[in-house]
Subunit: 78 residues, 2 copies
DNA sequence: ACACTATGTCAATAATTTTTGACATTTACT
DNA sequence: AGTAAATGTCAAAAATTATTGACATAGTGT
């Protein structure tokens, strides 16, 4: 679960949507502002539920908000 | 994060894909068999990363493997 | 009967995400 | 100057997901 990265364009989508603030988005999806910051900055990726909720806010398919970039693992860790 | 549910058709997709076993799917996405069991049975929903990986295995868009069902909270009747 | 595979479950632990509360910076407005 | 809003960061704790190892059941085949 560690060797793959997920990127998103939440920041751009926020501004496309009338410059919605992090605080407002956080309230709309029911998490704290820090969670939105962390996801936007790529500190970690959200749960599936949160990803669905965020996509919902922007009325876009999940895969247009979040993209999965596969990192090839070189060996199985066990 | 509490008032929404996520369902999936992993079990059906496994059988559509040559009766792929839970063990094989687990190995393909790099988690244990128990994790696949728990997700299939709806004990909890996967991380976004794992959801992407599973969709990848079945070569389907994430939203055709997992569906998000919004539970109305009291007061919000939309 | 015995072995084997696939599925399901349980409890304890590890790993990751989210919360809480605090504080700093920048920008804009009076 | 001072105030407020928006963003960013940090650390500790809570909540959720994933792992490990064990065991149970049903089905298949020998």
């Amino acid at each position: 679960m560690a060797q793959c990265s997920i990127s998103n364009n939440i920041r751009r989508l926020r501004f496309d949507h009338d410059e919605m603030t992090q605080k407002v988005l956080a309230e709309m999806v029911g998490v704290t502002r820090q969670t939105i910051v962390a996801i936007e900055k790529g500190k970690y990726s959200p749960t599936l539920e949160l990803a669905f909720k965020i996509s919902h806010v922007f009325k876009m398919p999940l895969e247009e908000v979040f993209s999965y970039i596969k990192n090839e693992e070189k060996g199985d860790t066990k």
